[in-house]
Symmetry: C2
């Protein structure tokens, strides 16, 4: 058996906690945009899922959100009322409802991601300039080893 | 005005995307544990919120989850049925229900975090050994500039 180097428990826990903490803080910074658009984080999650898949049926969205069909219907009602998504009935089977993100929804997603980037830019600007590319490279290296 | 270095748009976008991608992959690796305990990701999120706050009322949990009270009640019913949390009625005001995580719930959380660490350990073990502490330090440095 080949002897392999395995990172210590402490280092792994440290990196896992750091990644979790950073992710949470950055996500929170998009929240003020949610408020402007009068939607909640679960509604935003639904919006992102529909966008990422192009089109989703209500049933597919419900199972991807791990929420009851009725709860998902309420989330989508709100998104539709705010002009962020549209419901399309299948002409062959009127019981099937497909969801698609509208331009206003795409613009909202872009504003949330921009708010997150603005926050991150401010944090990175306080770091030593040389350290930022090292961070970016270290993250890229981690991702390269995920596959 | 002091001239400050500001990281370029590309570098900020790159780091934001990398952090988002890594966070998503790691979270997914805890999912198989959710299945073993027969709970869903939103139910796990509720469990973590109750644990992090020690005790939460149903109303507090509902507003922290950004979900309707009835949806939150359904999530908690499931957690209680699986012996992960308990409901405590306030002796002074029987309408107030407080939630507390039971030992089985704490153990479940620990197993999910352990599954995430196991996955991350495997990824880090494939990186060049010297690069892992560089990654940990770069993340620690970022966090130091968040405050």
């Amino acid at each position: 058996m080949e002897q392999r180097w395995v990172p210590g428990q402490d280092l792994v826990s440290e990196i896992e906690q750091e990644l979790r903490f950073i992710g949470r803080i950055i996500r929170q910074k998009g929240r003020e945009i949610h408020v402007n658009f009068q939607i909640t984080p679960p509604q935003f999650e639904a919006l992102m899922l529909i966008r990422d898949h192009g089109v989703l049926t209500m049933g597919e969205l419900s199972s991807k959100m791990f929420l009851a069909y009725s709860t998902t219907t309420d989330l989508v009602d709100r998104l539709e009322r705010h002009g962020l998504v549209e419901r399309l009935r299948d002409p062959m089977d009127r019981r099937v409802v497909r969801l698609r993100v509208l331009d206003r929804g795409l613009s909202m997603i872009e504003q949330v991601l921009e708010a997150r980037r603005d926050y991150l830019r401010g944090v990175l600007a306080r770091m030593e300039p040389g350290k930022v590319p090292i961070l970016a490279d270290a993250l890229k290296d981690l991702i390269a080893h995920i596959q």
